[in-house]
Symmetry: D2
Subunit: 258 residues, 4 copies
């Protein structure tokens, strides 16, 4: 028979009079003392942030909370219309759409850079940027983290995020590299391809030491908050039913006419 491996986790446990989260006493050390953003850092990094980490991480997170009427916000509202007894499932439905089209590029951008700088002691960033641009262009794949359909010629979030990173000592090789990639891509294509918000977030998350595989989690935590916001508005000013009816009316009218 297969030998059991032990179940091990550092996340937390409870006794009759105590709750411990990541090694901290919830009641004594967290409630009333730690903010939500710092708690999020504790969850993914395993220890409470320094003031600098907190400033940079909160900046990344608030950038991703709200983008107005996105497909996932509309999906969450429509789901709530069908199942108002389960707000949690409406948010879950919205999160199911936080994928490669709209939120995955931070993940991909971080991946490209983390793999390029892995185990490289004194990286030649200009050469690495040129290599990355060449490889992506050869496979006719868009370079993650560059360009934006609306925010042209500059995604205004990126310079602000880099500024916060700089002020807190987290502007290093990754931030340099994504800027060099953008410059090289613009040179090679002749198009405006500024670092977009997910490119900046991918770079800065890498500076913070976060594994690229958890970068989509930053968007997920932030969007979960934004999606609850949409449900809160839906409670006061419902929109989902009108969206549904317009779609259904137009489709049905066309089908009936045939």
């Amino acid at each position: 028979m297969r030998q059991h491996k032990p179940f091990r986790s550092e996340m937390g446990f409870s006794t009759a009079d105590r709750i411990v989260v990541r090694g901290h006493d919830l009641v004594e050390d967290i409630i009333g003392k730690v903010s939500l953003g710092d708690m999020a850092w504790l969850e993914i990094a395993g220890s409470l942030p320094t003031p600098q980490q907190s400033a940079v991480f909160n900046a990344l997170m608030v950038t991703l909370v709200e983008h107005g009427m996105t497909p996932n916000a509309i999906a969450a509202r429509l789901t709530y219309l069908g199942a108002p007894e389960a707000l949690n499932a409406a948010v879950a439905a919205g999160l199911c759409g936080v994928g490669s089209t709209f939120a995955g590029t931070a993940e991909n951008s971080a991946r490209v850079m983390q793999e390029a700088l892995k185990n490289v002691e004194r990286p030649d960033l200009t050469r690495i940027a040129a290599d990355i641009v060449r490889t992506f262009r050869a496979s006719r794949t868009p370079i993650p983290g560059l360009g934006h359909p609306i925010h042209k010629p500059v995604d205004p979030r990126s310079p602000r995020l880099f500024e916060v990173a700089k002020q807190n000592g987290y502007y290093g090789n990754y931030c340099e590299l994504i800027q060099l990639i953008a410059a090289e891509a613009e040179r090679a294509t002749g198009k405006a391809l500024p670092v977009n918000a997910t490119g900046a977030i991918g770079a800065i998350a890498s500076e913070l030491g976060l594994d690229w595989r958890i970068c989509r989690g930053i968007a997920v935590m932030a969007r979960a908050i934004g999606l609850v916001g949409h449900i809160a508005e839906e409670l006061k000013e419902p929109l989902a039913r009108e969206i549904w009816e317009r779609v259904d009316d137009e489709v049905s009218e066309d089908l009936r006419k045939r």
Copy 2:
């Protein structure tokens, strides 16, 4: 034909050089200035919090982020095992289980109290508490927000949360009422039925002016963060496969023997 109603929302919009969220310029006024917890308040309340609202709301939120190896944390990890390409869907799976068994009582507790105090100018809280206890006992339904299977005789989170509420001027009729309900329930049943964390959260969320129907959203935002934390740990110390294999081995061995 049906007349269209206009699509209206205050959540946000973008132009080429600007992103506006709930009336605030994201780049100028939010990134680097507003913390994640305050952003969450902005999303559900529509305006930035006062320092007191911020303190109380962040305290509620951090209480709900992490509870160790809950069913929804395990579900998220197992989902990630099957679909590592979609961290977002793993968190969504976990949120699907944030329902009536483990997280809904804040909602119900807030509902009972908000309905009891609605449009009552000078409420006789002792009488209202007695009425609530009598009604629930008559229908043999547990009173939401009281008692805990592990945390006995006191749920240590509740006094701490009430303390934070008091320090910030948010300990009012709802907090009084839930305490009176607990006292009356203990008197009537002879059992220890302290205000549990979700009872305290239901009361304090009501003090903050939050509609009971959005109270599950507090748990959802917080748990989304906790679930990303579990995936982050799963990346480093995988647990899901061992859980699956132990279950499958034991079930299969039994079936093969029959």
Copy 3:
């Protein structure tokens, strides 16, 4: 320490050369011999259906597969737009909205009738129907399974479903009862309140011996199939992006004008 209870399940297991599902050899006895609808019955009832059970159960199921542009179909399409790498998560998002507003009434209808007829040997159906109508009217709650916003004065699916049930020997007390409830409700209110499709399904599922708590599962299995159908159409004739853009355009234009 707590004593372990054994993990037990009858669902299935595998060996190197064999897969057993609910006691049947998948390769020998199921593939090429059992249809999908009968397999669904095997899953929830634990044994293969008789021809009569198969006819009735398949009739219930196909009724619920497709309803055109419902909120959950639109939600699934919008989710697929955001995460085309995870068709499974798009269907999951759609299923999150198969709840109390649109699909839960079969569950509730079955529940009301199963609780009313539980352990009653020779039920007086007319009196029971009158009691049910009186109770719901007293609490100002709509009676589950009656009335439809579009299908008036008759939901055409219900007589057809009852006909299939009758032809196969599954028209008994539950089917009688829902008809009597509808008659009594129409008499008491003076309104047209025909048995709707979910009322008929609730009654017929009860005739088939299905627990009311699994009745939502019939809708879930059927809608999962319908939602995959919507994604299949979305692949050929995309609709989600246009829905999103119309909503976002109208909301953004209004916000920019303020």
Copy 4:
């Protein structure tokens, strides 16, 4: 302003006395006449199946319904434990895990073959198989649709599925090709790499004319049914709580000892 594109869909519509699904009258032509499996074909292919298509498609589908205690089945059960009011969300949670690890290989297998045979009139299957094996081996990526951790040396489902395909005239180039790929891979690696169930399903779905991008949908429809089956068993013989408690106990005991 952007010009609206019309909302168009062939899925279905309703009038007061009629429901039309994919051009068929639901009451007249589907209920009591079409089985669930054939309805599933109608949803994804747009027309009712021939008897041969029905036989082959139902065979594919029933193969994927049930696999015992998989990670997604356990996740669905744990979710139901937390939110029994929303069976739909429990199934959704399970579907979130039907991804690349366990169910995506039919998709990938179909993709590889459809891209290889696209617009090729008289394909040299042996050469194409050799090319595919060489390419995958060069990039050190496993070839989708081959090999199985348990079912060795043969996955018993594959020969049975090919047999059903042959009997119904759907054993063509794709089925030949996957067999040639397996033979070539076994020759090149010296390992047993038989066509597994998802390889067979990918090939046969391609024979049926299904786009590789919808192939995961076959697994999703089938698994949704299987997951409802698991909830049905959970209602009678609960397993989720014991799974949770064993995990939590073992983790907590370890943490308390430190």
